[in-house]
Symmetry: C2
């Protein structure tokens, strides 16, 4: 070898060097150097995909280079790796080893992460069969994919002979793990979408994501059609258990709704259902079970155990989801019967499990799920807030739609705003919290929640509102909007009973927070940040929330709404294998605290029903 | 530690020793020693399954020992491992580590192998959920199974909550690899059956096997109902390709037939379909494809490639096979378009791939598949023998059923026997080969296959049969049985055309053997053994087979029928994970020789049409 001319090739960006005899194909040099470089057409100069840039040294362009590259590219040193023969010392720059692994932003919680989809597509041009090469179709593809340990699913095997022969044995394999789940004719490497679902008890949202770029391409949502079989989780569990075929029916209607969302989202973005290869799903434990066809009965019965607390991936076809036949579904795990995959989504989105500071995340709904802690320890609990925050059980309550009073402030008089700036029809959760905070501040209700009589008020600072306190349907009530201001010509009251309902709801949340803090062995001031997840958390006025004691008053400045964090978690699990796998670690890591089992729950809840006497913590 | 009393425990049969402080639970000692011992109830002394024998030293029996063992057992040192506390130097004998791995005999080829089923059952008594232990059902089971890397299938997950609660959280998990495919209430560890199928073009056979003992419990068979869509492989491939829904129909009818066989076999043996957990399948490439719903078109078109040449395991439910819902199907791989999984079964059964001597296996049917070689090199080919050996295309030919002439000998006159000792109705393959051999021996047909005229015969040793040679339907024929001897009162002839048909069939086989030998670079005498697989091989008279040149004459004493070796291979793959996996290696290892591509095929085939002039090899 000494008397042959040798050359040195340096590979960027790793600066690996290799010395090889003159005339060695660069492809061979890279093989020897152990560089894993991709030659879809087998290095025959045909596909034009093995591009790299020669930074230093001479590598005259080949015919294939002229076929696949334009003059400008050739002038700046771009070549096809497969046609280079080394006749000079070269410095070549390889394209970044996995260009799909760049960081992306997922909205709301502004979560940065590495894009690493569950499925990968690999395009290959296979040698065509001949009497000299009679390998079966699968072995032909497997060998082109370069991994003898690969397996293939039966549905993919069934499509294989047709797909191979449609475009002259050029095809794209769709893989997950070491299994080929799909085979498509020709080159479809540039198309791979996914949909991240957030199945709420009331609303289902699907985010259409480009799995190759991480970009959101659209969003669609609909009412959860299970609503007609029961408005809340418990009534659906009852329906599933007591009606013949109840579970199957509930599953069928949610799948149908998801299929409509898929259809709407992809057609809205100019794609086809077949372009969707992955679906991720979060939801509370009950929604999770009904979606997967798991019996939710034991969620509702003591000791409240779900069927599974592990991430579960299944073929989309097994669930009836109409996406690409190779498509897979990634379902996030539950922590407990009442702390579901949606909470895991919140943890994933907010990275609570990686936090060096103590943080508290609260997702307020009919149930309030909350998670407290750091990367060293996380506690979670769920508390039955009841429907008051969603406007139900409140005399003039309504959902946060047009005409709902959504904020109330104390000026000269009571000042409110409505959604859509329309005449008020009722009051929604955030408006109610504001209203109660205002009434507290004005001294119209005392710390026990009692609406003062107009006589009591005349004697105090609440005097100017005394005229608004009156009997309504037999109980002392506060007139929020007189008949002439409202859309329907009827007055809107906050009744004594409404105040009690709110006390129960906020007391439940506050008691949960209180118990988590004490189990953690800290006081409210030790909490670095309070993250409010979900739509309600977004609209909630943090000052009012603290005023009524929903959140410890000393934390007012540390409250941050984090949007639909459950949905963001779903997106993260869809876009990244690593994030999805982390959900399994999260459920193992989080300590679930059963409030019902807590010895002092009743006492703490009883105290939490009161409103704070003063704004600051002790 | 030095001043505590320590004891030494020696574990038999491995003689592992461990020194531990007095009072250490034996369970802990075994954990420390890294011994993988099974405590179904978690070591609570409840299930009585963790038995071992104390050979030396004192270990007073516990209360649990008295609950679960009889006095004789206790006297001979049997104890439950979980209740022993070490208070003496002990020698304990562990039950053999995997008692299921004993050797078993599989019939016909008398194949010895280790029993190691694809699925395993593990019984466990789980702690019941409580407010202190709210683990979800799956995590509870997974932890009892002691492997955090286990996965569970969606159908098993759906059955899990019901199965756990049916028998107080005692259950049996059905696993394959690291996935739980089924969960059953209570202890069903003692029941696990499988069915080994051999799907022939004409007949489907199912062998019911006990997966825990390796014993055959029954066998059922039926006509392959695909026959009504085409008698042979090519006509079924045509039907599948040209009729709308043809492939689906052919798949449906074979699955239905297999379901009837399953039903018949299990009910005949006193079991239920749910006791069947595994199915193995062999068949020629076309039967393989139709069973799996794979398009067989390219098997029939040059260059004759199957869709897959790898073993494929799938859920039984994905194919519509009605066995236990956790059941799996293990389909053996094809070698080439015309050397299918049945041939792989033959290789597995005969252990050709492990042979130190050169062996030749031939499976004679419409196609003759043959494999030649040793553990160092194996060659395979397929040759189109046509239907003559099955009695088709022969003037008085019939299948080997009652009334068929199945052997012919030369005595004073022509002597024949029939199946069932009835009056003859026709002649089957083995009878035809005998008859031709007799006619050759008697000089009635010459080495070119020409039936001598009665005039020629009168002048030779064939004289005494001259009266049997006559014109029949315009061609010279030999009267095998006169009208008065036959069941239907019509005479049975061997016509000149029949001889030609047989020459084509035997020539095809002989040419295949000839080419394999020459590709291997050996002469017939180098072959140590000729194994004849399949029913035809069983009935064939080896002397006749050599006389007509079907098999080289010098190998007559080395011919051995090996029964339904394909079926035996199917059983082996069913009973042993290792044997099933070996099939993948076999297809990689075997070199397939395409006869159509062989430059001298026509010449060799042409020569092989002749009958041997003399009985011995050159």
């Amino acid at each position: 070898m000494k008397n042959c001319k040798n050359y040195i090739v340096t590979f960027q960006p790793t600066n690996e060097e290799i010395e090889i005899p003159a005339g060695t194909p660069l492809k061979k040099a890279m093989d020897i150097a152990g560089l894993n470089f991709d030659y879809p057409c087998g290095g025959r100069g045909r596909c034009g995909k093995c591009r790299l840039q020669v930074r230093k040294g001479s590598a005259p362009p080949s015919e294939s280079d002229y076929d696949h590259l334009d003059q400008e590219e050739i002038d700046s040193g771009w070549r096809l790796a497969c046609t280079i023969k080394v006749e000079d010392d070269l410095v070549v720059e390889l394209p970044s080893s996995d260009s799909k692994e760049h960081k992306i932003l997922v909205d709301a919680a502004e979560r940065e992460m590495k894009l690493k989809p569950h499925l990968r597509k690999i395009y290959r041009e296979l040698p065509r069969p001949s009497i000299e090469d009679q390998r079966p179709d699968w072995e032909r593809l497997r060998s082109a994919l370069g991994d003898n340990n690969l397996r293939i699913s039966l549905p993919a095997l069934r499509r294989l002979p047709g797909a191979l022969r449609e475009k002259k044995f050029s095809c794209t394999a769709v893989l997950s793990g070491n299994e080929v789940w799909g085979v498509e004719a020709g080159d479809s490497e540039d198309r791979m979408l996914g949909i991240a679902f957030d199945i709420g008890t009331t609303t289902v949202v699907g985010y259409l994501m480009d799995l190759l770029t991480g970009k959101q391409l659209g969003v669609s949502s609909s009412i959860n059609p299970q609503t007609k079989y029961g408005a809340d989780v418990i009534s659906r569990i009852t329906y599933a258990g007591q009606e013949t075929g109840g579970l199957e029916r509930l599953q069928k209607v949610i799948i149908e709704a998801m299929n409509r969302i898929i259809e709407e989202a992809v057609s809205g973005a100019g794609y086809e259902k077949e372009d969707v290869y992955a679906v991720s799903v979060v939801g509370n434990s009950c929604m999770h079970h009904l979606f997967m066809g798991l019996d939710p009965k034991h969620i509702a019965l003591a000791p409240y155990v779900p069927v599974t607390g592990s991430p579960q991936d299944v073929e989309a076809s097994a669930l009836g989801l109409e996406i690409n036949p190779a498509g897979r579904v990634f379902v996030l795990p539950n922590i407990a019967g009442f702390v579901g995959a949606d909470t895991v989504g919140v943890i994933l989105a907010t990275e609570l499990d990686q936090s060096s500071e103590i943080r508290l995340a609260i997702d307020i709904g009919t149930n309030g799920e909350m998670v407290l802690g750091t990367r060293d320890r996380l506690l979670a609990c769920s508390t039955a807030a009841g429907p008051a925050f969603e406007g139900a059980q409140i005399s003039c309550g309504m959902r946060g739609t047009r005409g709902a009073i959504d904020s109330v402030r104390l000026g000269e008089d009571i000042v409110y705003t409505t959604i859509g700036d329309e005449k008020p029809k009722g009051i929604c959760g955030s408006g109610l919290i504001d209203a109660i905070a205002v009434l507290l501040k004005a001294g119209i209700i005392d710390y026990r929640g009692k609406i003062q009589s107009s006589e009591q008020l005349s004697a105090t600072r609440g005097e100017r509102f005394a005229g608004r306190v009156m009997k309504h349907e037999g109980s002392t009530s506060f007139l929020l909007a007189p008949a002439e201001e409202t859309a329907h010509g009827k007055p809107l009251f906050i009744t004594q009973r409404d105040v009690r309902e709110l006390q129960l709801a906020k007391g439940a949340i506050a008691a949960g927070v209180d118990i988590l803090l004490s189990e953690y062995g800290i006081v409210p001031e030790d909490v670095f940040e309070v993250m409010l997840a979900g739509a309600f958390g977004n609209y909630l006025d943090k000052s009012s929330a603290c005023a009524i004691g929903l959140i410890p008053a000393c934390l007012e400045d540390r409250v941050k709404p984090v949007g639909n964090a459950a949905g963001t978690g779903s997106k993260a699990a869809l876009l990244s294998v690593g994030e999805y796998r982390r959900t399994g670690l999260i459920t193992d890591f989080v300590e679930y605290k059963e409030l019902a089992a807590h010895s002092k729950f009743t006492e703490i809840f009883g105290k939490a029903l009161y409103f704070p006497k003063q704004k600051k913590c002790m």
